[in-house]
Each structure stands twice: as C-alpha cells, then as structure tokens.
C-alpha cells in the first residue's frame, strides 16, 4: 500500500489507520447495559442517557498511539466500532453476517458473540428503538418499506446530520456548565408547564459536561504517566505539552491551535459515543474556526506551517480511524461503506459575507492532497468571492481523480437557507454536510429521513398501483394506463401515486420523530447546538434554533427519461402503444428490440440541454418538491427535499423491473441529479445546463457527478477549463459538483464490458467521442495514450 503523510510520524499513524481491520467493540454496550440495569426508571430519561456517556468516559479503555499528537478513540483502539443496542440490538446472525460478508465487513470475536448472547441480547431484545419503530408503523408503511419504495434512516442509527458551529472551538465545558446552571436558575416553575422536563434535560447536559471533562482528565493522567516513562526527550516534551494542553481544555476555551483541535476531537467523540448519529459529527468551517488560533500562535512564534499541517494530518487520521457504525440489511444497502460521512467544508464566506479563505484553508487543501483518505470527506465551498488561486488548487487535487474535494456553491447555499427561513447571518454560517445536505451549522437539526424511490412510484402508476416485483398492490388504483388518452392523464395518475406514497412515508416519519423525542434524547449534541440550552430542550425534541426534515429524491434522470419515452413515442408520435410498451417491459425488452431502440436511441433524454426532456425533469422536480416542502415536522419545523442517492440508486434499481426508458430490470437507477447512464451524449456543458434547469435554491442540496479522462483535464488549460466549468455551474445556481477521472484500468474494463460504460467519454484528438463508439484499435491507442498521460 502506498505510504502517505508529511513525515514518518504521520506515515506510521496513517498506516495503522489504513491497515487495521474494522472490528466490533462491545465495551460501550456493556457499560450502557449496566447503567440501564441499575438506573432505568429511577432517573429521568435524559439523565439516564447522560449517565451512560459519563460512565463510558469514566471507564472506557484509553488508547494512546505511537507518536500521536491528538488523542482519543471512540472505541478501545483505531477502527473500533462500538455498538448501540438501544438503537439496534444485533442478533447473533447479524454479527455473523457483519463478520463474513465480502465487503464492508467488521470482525467479530468469539468473546463478542458470547457477550452479545449473554449480556446484550437478553437486556435489549424487544426494547431497542428499532423494535419501537417497527411496532409503530402502519401496515402500508411496512409493505412499502419492504418493497423498496423508500428507506428509513432512523431504523438503525440516530438522527444527527449536523455540524458544529463556532462555539465548538471557543467554549470549554466548564463554561457550558455555567450557561446551563443559569438556564436552570431561570426556569419558571410557577408558570411554565414544561419547567420540570426542561430541568431534567438541563441536568442531563451538566452530567455530559462532566463526562467530557472526565475523559480529558483521564487522558491527562495517562499522558503524564507516559511522559514520565518516556526516554526520548523530543517525544517526552510532546507528551508533556499534550498533558499541559489538557489543563486548559476541554474545561476551558482553547488558547492555542493545538488545543482547539484537541477540544474539537473530544466533542466529536462525545457526540458520536452518546448516540451513533448519522454523518457522525463535523467541525463545520474548520479553517475559519482555527484561523484565529493559528494567527496568534504564528505571531507568538510557537507554531509554523509545518506543525500546523502536521496537527491537521493527525486529525485526519483520527477521522479515518472511526468506521461507520455497523449496519445490516436495507440500511447497509442504502449506504454500503465504512465512511461515516464526517464532512469538512473549506473556503466559503465569513459571517459578515466576506471571503472566508485564509492560510489554514490552503493547509487543509495540502492535508487532503497528502493524506488521500476517504474520511473525513474533505470538500471546498466556492463563492463568487473565492480567490481563483484557491479554486485552482482545489481543481488540481480534484483532477487526481479520486473524487475529493467536491465543490459546493456557497452563494447558492445561502439562498437555500434563506428560502428555508434562516436569518442572513445564520445562512452565511451554513454549508453542506454528509453528502450534500444543507444546514446552518451550530444552529440546526436537519435530519435526513430516507430516500424516496421516484422511478418506482412511476412504475406503480404504469401497473395501476401494483408492484410487479413484490407482487402486491402498494399504490393507489389510478387506472389502467392503456386507457389513458393523453399524457396529462398519465401525469395526473403519477401525481396521485406520488402524493399517496409521500403520505405513507411522512406519517411513519412523524411517529419516528416522536419516538426519538421521547426515548432517545441527545444531551451532549444539545449542549453544543444553539438554542437547546436556552430552550431547555433536547436536540431530538426540537431544541435547535431550526428543525428541518429532509426526504431525498432518487432517480430523477430515470423517471424523466421514462416520461419522455412515453410522451415522445406514445402520445406525440404514435410510434407504439402503451400496451406494446408494457409487454416489452414485462419481457425485459427481450424480443422487443424495435421498441428498445426507439426508447434508447431515438428519444430526447435528460442531460443534453434539450428542453423536451429537461422540461419534463422540471415538472417532476416541481411535483416532488411541492408535495414534500412545507409539510410540518413534529418539532415545529418544515420538510424540504434533497436530491441525492449515496449508494441507494443501486438498491432502488434492484427492486424495479425494466423501465420505459429502456433500462433493464434490476439495473441501478440514475444517481443524484445526474443523467441516466447512457443518456447524455453532448458533453459536460450540456449536462451542466440540463442539471441547472432544476431550481436548486428551493432544495436542501443536490448531487452531480461528472466523469472525465485525465487527458481532458491535462495541463494548465485543463485546470482552467475545469475551474470555468465549476464557476459557470455555480453562476447558474448549481449546488454541488464532483469529478471522476478515469484511469487505464477502467478503460480496459470499459473495453471488455462496453454496455456498463456507455457514458464514458474520451478525448480522441481534436474531438471527443464515446469510448464504446470507437473501434477496438482506436480504443487501444487511447488506452495506451491515457496511460502515458499519468
């Protein structure tokens, strides 16, 4: 494996992170079980939850890696994955599956199995959140969920989906305690009917503050011991400094850059050990939060760029040491990765609206370039004020072809947040976390609730509400499409099906939201998120300043092309009938090559800057957005939509038969807002134009993937053109764009399996062409040429 890192220390730390097999860690679950056995029903739920964290941080195994400058692991060592039986109590079968599966496996020991069987399962079986959720759902929800009409995020992991604000870097836990005490003192027990529950919540927060400070103290003692024993004077001095840092943090506001990073990391561990929130936790605008400390330390002569970078690289290793909490079943399919989606946005703007890029921003770019780690998901925010140098450096890293950094559009994100009711100042503090979802950092709970299978809803429409895959009547009976005289009749039927399915989904969401509010408070996340302390309310119960729920639409490319195929061929040109199309779909297009050819090759498709198809995309988007947006959440907020798939487009494709656009049964549907795989034939500017016709500002985030060959981006010209593509897409209010750059291996695969690489465009000479359209000989020439350009 390639060794990366700026020096021997980082290389060694990174190597451990990369080469350690992710494994299950039951220490937390066992401590939690003990706390519940002793205290459940004797203290309030928030207090019980806080006691779990305090007990865990008081007793957990501490890890100190060789040469580490930033300390702390969520489990007992790197690549440990603590379990959360209060959310999902894994069966022994689950544990065998996670150990044995070919990809994204977690090793499980015999002792783990024994502990699970004897300690965890007997206590938690039947009382986990997953049990409560599944018991609370309607029959319709259960059937639709099982058939893949939508997924459910909170079925195995907790809500979270947020990033830290400025206070995460400027306040210590003793200071939070003062604030919380004041909030308790201010409670009005005479008039406020909720004063008692608020007091429970605030007391739980106090306990969690203690928990973090206990962890700090324990590390300080360990570091002092190690310093004592250490014979290497350089390392000894480091250990002493690290111990001295813990005199200040986590109790008090950091005084140095180093302390600020360590403080963040303790908070990260606390938030992600209390529950296993989706997308872990993120430091938000890391560059802007660190810059004041960086500037002061440099001024004071105690920090240089090399050390500043080294500390960042240590932090990057820490992120990478935390595999995602173990998922099984559908939740694994929708997000089949070790990545826990901690997401760092660099660049953007400051609170006052001015350019946010600073010296630390460039160090972060160097760090991501050097470390080449999938965690943290390291991305950049580009505003119209972003210096060209910063954009170009980001393009240079992106061009290496492994997908980072992705590019987010600051100015568009501000519009999204304003549209969703945030103040201008809070909007400027926003960004994208997880994949692309937008929130006001430090102020908002913006919870993703599940993916929504739009092409499958359309498929139900074509079969009068019947699901050919599960053999059930899942949708409404909106009529046999053979009887529809006009495209509009078909559209109305689809709109009714979509509305019905959204009702099923949201009704389930509302129950789940209430269950979390009631049974699973998150006092630690509430400490750091505005305005939970002020309101005396938990993050999971609407305590944040803003409370948003997202539903993520999947497959806009596929559904658009299906509608276009029907409109163009059946209603506009009478090339074939609905009956003929349905027969072809039933037969997976075998023996129906003529229809297949028409819908595949001779129909306008989304992604080509062709208004015929793109107007249909806009209609579908509007229908979906308007149906979801503005629905009330149980915590007083509103629903909004995202357009992103993670890896769910593959799962959603598996549960859909052949579709009207010529997509064969069980193949993936389109991802993000990208065109269907073989649909775009006019190059990247046409794709960008089509995608920009969606009203991004009215969403909470969209995702666009673009693919290039290395030669198309070669040289300074290549970089400049890439930067221009991004700037132009962002001027059109595109939310996000990321790039794949193909290597020789991929091209060889594409040659062997052309049908799987139908959208691969290569630069031939003075022109571009589809790789599949080239003669074998020319393909060989390009494969060889591409190899040379690396």
């Amino acid at each position: 494996m390639e060794e990366r890192g700026m020096n021997a220390r980082i290389k060694a730390l990174r190597k451990v992170s990369m080469e350690t097999q992710p494994h299950i860690d039951l220490e937390r679950a066992k401590i939690e079980t003990e706390v519940y056995k002793q205290w459940e029903d004797k203290v309030s739920l928030p207090v019980l939850r806080a006691m779990v964290l305090k007990e865990y941080f008081s007793k957990k195994t501490l890890y100190l890696g060789e040469g580490e400058l930033i300390v702390g692991e969520k489990g007992k060592d790197p690549q440990s994955s603590p379990t959360f039986p209060e959310l999902t109590c894994h069966t022994l079968d689950d544990m065998h599956i996670m150990n044995d599966r070919a990809v994204v496996n977690y090793s499980v020991t015999e002792q783990d199995l024994k502990d699970q069987e004897e300690i965890i399962i007997p206590f938690w079986r039947g009382k986990s959140m997953r049990d409560k959720i599944l018991a609370g759902m309607t029959e319709e929800w259960m059937e639709c969920y099982a058939a893949g009409m939508f997924t459910e995020f909170m079925e195995q992991r907790g809500p979270g989906h947020t990033c830290g604000g400025k206070n995460v870097f400027t306040k210590g836990y003793a200071e939070y305690k003062t604030e919380i005490h004041k909030a308790i003192d201010d409670l009005d027990f005479m008039n406020d009917v909720d004063a008692v529950t608020k007091k429970d919540e605030l007391e739980a927060m106090l306990i969690d503050c203690d928990a973090v400070m206990i962890l700090g103290k324990r590390y300080q003692e360990l570091l002092e011991e190690e310093a004592e024993k250490c014979t290497d004077p350089v390392r000894k001095a480091e250990l002493e400094q690290m111990a001295a840092n813990l005199d200040v943090i986590p109790a008090h506001a950091p005084q140095t850059y180093w302390q600020a990073i360590q403080l963040y990391w303790f908070t990260h561990l606390a938030v992600t050990s209390e529950l296993n929130p989706w997308d872990a936790f993120s430091p938000g605008r890391l560059d802007q939060h660190l810059y004041p400390y960086y500037a002061k330390d440099v001024e004071d002569g105690i920090l240089d760029d090399e050390r500043a970078l080294e500390l960042l690289e240590c932090l990057w290793v820490k992120f990478n040491n935390q595999p995602a909490p173990v998922k099984v079943g559908v939740t694994l399919k929708e997000s089949g990765t070790y990545t826990d989606f901690a997401n760092i946005n660099t660049g953007g703007i400051k609170e006052d609206g001015s350019n946010g890029v600073n010296a630390v921003s460039y160090l972060i770019l160097d760090c991501m370039d050097e470390m080449k780690l999938v965690q943290p998901n390291s991305n950049v925010q580009i505003s119209k004020k972003t210096p060209h140098r910063f954009l170009k450096r980001a393009c240079e890293i992106s061009r290496e072809g492994w997908g980072q950094p992705a590019f987010y559009n600051t100015d568009e994100i501000v519009q999204e947040l304003l549209n969703a009711g945030k103040t201008l100042l809070d909007a400027r503090q926003g960004g994208s976390s997880g994949c692309v979802e937008t929130g006001s950092w430090g102020n908002e709970a913006y919870i993703l609730t599940g993916y929504f299978n739009i092409p499958k809803i359309f498929q139900l429409t074509l079969y009068n509400g019947y699901d050919t895959q599960s053999g059930q009547q899942l949708g409404l009976k909106t009529g046999d499409p053979r009887d529809f005289k006009t495209y509009e009749e078909l559209w109305d039927a689809f709109a009714r099906q979509l509305h019905y399915m959204a009702d099923v989904k949201v009704r389930g969401n509302n129950v789940i939201e209430k269950l979390y509010a009631q049974y699973m408070p998150a006092p630690c996340l509430s400490i750091v998120t505005n305005d939970c302390i002020k309101k005396g309310k938990d993050y999971n119960n609407g305590g944040s300043r803003y409370n948003t729920r997202y539903i993520q639409g999947v497959g806009i490319g596929t559904i658009t092309d299906c509608l276009a195929a029907i409109k163009h061929n059946i209603y506009d040109n009478h090339n074939f009938t609905m009956d003929e199309l349905l027969k072809a779909m039933d037969d997976n297009f075998e023996g129906h090559e003529e229809i297949l050819n028409m819908v595949t090759n001779k129909t306008p498709k989304y992604g080509n800057d062709d208004d015929y198809a793109d107007d249909i995309m806009k209609e579908v988007f509007r229908l979906y957005r308007d149906d979801i947006t503005g629905r009330p959440t149980m915590s007083g907020g509103q629903y909004h939509v995202d357009m992103l798939p993670t890896t769910c487009h593959i799962y959603f494709g598996e549960v859909i038969g052949a579709t009207a656009n010529g997509r064969r049964a069980h193949k993936p549907v389109s991802e993000g807002i990208s065109p269907e795989k073989f649909a775009d034939t006019h190059g990247p500017t046409a794709v960008i134009k089509s995608c920009a016709k969606m009203d991004h500002c009215s969403t909470g985030g969209t995702l666009l993937n673009q693919k290039f060959t290395p030669s198309a981006l070669a040289g300074d010209t290549g970089l400049e053109n890439l930067a221009s593509l991004i700037r132009t897409y962002f001027a059109m209010d595109g939310h996000h764009i990321q790039f794949n750059v193909f290597d020789k291996q991929t091209l060889l695969e594409a040659q062997k399996h052309p049908d799987d690489y139908k959208d691969l465009i290569v630069r031939v000479a003075g022109y571009s062409d589809y790789f599949r359209n080239l003669d074998e000989e020319l393909q060989n020439e390009i494969i060889n040429r591409t190899a040379q350009s690396f």
Binding site: T685, K689, E720, S724, M732, E781
Partner: protein, 303 residues
C-alpha cells in the same frame, strides 16, 4: 442552408477557453492524413459501421432503392451508386450502425445551438469555432450572416481554415472574427499538390492579405514526419512568415495522428495515409526550439 457533420460542445483544443466547434461539410483539399474524411464531400453521405453490423436485414428491407443486400458472411453491403442517402436505413437500424452524415441547419438554428453555452464562453474566455471541412468554402452570405449574428450576441468567433477559398469570403467577415486558426502545411507548391491535392498559391496569398488586414492569427501546422516533419520544412514556413511580416499570436504544432483512419471504411473509402507517421517527442521539441529561436515565443505542441 449548409450541411454540418458535428457540433462539438466543450471543445477545448480549437481556440481559447471552452468552445463549441461547428464542423461544416465540404472541403476542396484532400489532405492525405485527413482525420475527418466525412467532411470532405459537400454532399450528405451514408456511414456504416460494418464490423458491428449484425446482418439482421432490416436496412435491406427499408431501402427504397434496393441498394442494400446482406452478404453470405452476415454483413450489410451497400451499393453506393444506387444509394440516395435518404436515411430510411438509418431509422431501421436497431443498433445505430448506419448514420447519415451531414444535417442542414439554418443560420438561426446554428446560432441558437451556439448560444446554449454562452455562459461557459464568457466565464472561460471561449466562444464558437467554425471549422470543417472548410468553413470558408461555404456560401459566403450564409457564413457572414452566421458570424455577424454570433458577434452581435457577444460570442467570440474563431475560424479554423485551410486557406483554400476566395479572399472575398475572408474579407467579408474580418470585422466579426476574433481569431483565425490558419493551417499551413508545406511551402513547396508541387509537394502541396501531391499531399493536399491542390497547390498552395491561394492559401499563401490569403494568409498574406489577412495578416496585412490586421487579423489576429494562430498558425496551425499538422506535423507529419514524411511530409513536413523536418527542419527544412519548418524553416521554409518560418521564412515565409518573416518575409511577409506575418506575426501570429500563437503557433500550434499538431503532431500527426491516425485516429481518423477508422472512419474511411465506414464511408466506403480507403485511408490514403497509412504510411504516414508522427515525429517523436524529441523531434517535436526541436521544432519548438527552432520556432523560438526564430523569434516566435508562443509555440505549443497540440491545439
């Protein structure tokens, strides 16, 4: 109306920035290495991808002229004498292996398509490149109308030309063209006739006059080892430019490639340049130095 073979968006090697390149159909030269043989004839043509043909016979049934038959080895055979390029077989072919090259566009249709990427041009300093084939061999009024309209919309226009067209065509559009991508191949008239099918007198004369009119010129030289890939040939071109006080803003040395050779078979033609080769990297670098030493600083290998 003029026939266009391709409208290439995100074109990044035919002028500055992000561009749309329009390839017009028809050219008077017959360069032996031509990599766009489908742009040589002014007429529409049928292109057939024989290796991919499955021999299903739908094209033969669809052809009103009876020009298509299926050979015993299961491939379609087209009698190009009988074929009237009506496109019925294109519609019938299930694999899109048969295509008619060349589609007529009105000026307004082309302007509309070219304006689709306006924001990209403005951000990147790009624009529209009219190429071919030979754009200057098209109807002068049509081209003038096109470039005027593009110019009026604020689009930067580049003309990619081999120089083989009446000077009046050039003169008519000078005010609306930002950059001329002007091809020079060899200086010797006989040699030019041998490899390009015509002499170069008009080409050189047009270049002289364009330069004298103050046009912004990029000289583009396809470099083929057997034809002009030698010091003498380069020096001859440099000598001509010096002698006539032609000062291009950029010189592009374009190493020969055979990536167009596969297209000949599809058109029922034979590739005449099979024996040609490209100079190696070192030779290309030596030509760059040669140009630099002669006082031309902005010399690039490739477009």
């Amino acid at each position: 109306m003029h026939s266009v073979t391709n409208i290439q968006k995100y074109s990044i090697h035919d002028g500055d920035g992000i561009r749309t390149t329009v390839f017009f159909k028809g050219c008077h030269l017959r360069c032996r290495w031509c990599h766009n043989p489908e742009t040589q004839s002014f007429e529409k043509e049928l292109q057939v991808d024989i290796p991919k043909c499955t021999g299903c016979g739908r094209c033969a049934k669809a052809c009103p002229e009876g020009a298509v038959t299926i050979s015993p080895d299961g491939k379609s055979v087209t009698d190009r004498e009988k074929c009237r390029v009506c496109g019925k077989c294109e519609a019938a072919c299930l694999g899109n292996y048969r295509t008619v090259v060349g589609r007529d566009y009105t000026v307004d249709e082309l302007v509309k398509i070219c304006l689709q990427d306006l924001m990209f041009y403005e951000e990147s300093g790009g624009g529209v490149t009219l190429s071919g084939g030979e754009v200057m061999a098209m109807d002068s009024g049509y081209i003038k109308d096109l470039v005027r309209k593009l110019h009026r919309e604020g689009v930067s226009v580049a003309i990619d030309t081999c120089g083989q067209a009446p000077y009046s065509n050039y003169e008519a559009i000078i005010p609306y063209v930002d950059t001329w991508l002007y091809d020079i191949k060899v200086m010797d008239d006989d040699e030019h006739r041998e490899y390009m099918g015509m002499g170069n007198a008009l080409i050189l004369e047009n270049l002289r006059r364009l330069a004298a009119a103050g046009a912004r010129i990029y000289i583009r030289i396809p470099v083929v080892k057997e034809v002009n890939g030698d010091t003498g040939s380069m020096e001859a071109i440099i000598g001509f430019l010096k002698e006539n006080d032609i000062r291009p803003l950029q010189v592009n040395l374009l190493p020969y490639h055979n990536t167009g050779s596969h297209k000949y078979g599809k058109l029922g033609m034979e590739y005449p340049g099979a024996e040609l080769t490209a100079p190696d990297d070192e030779e290309m670098q030596s030509f760059v130095r040669l140009w630099n030493d002669a006082g031309y600083g902005n010399v690039k290998i490739g477009g």
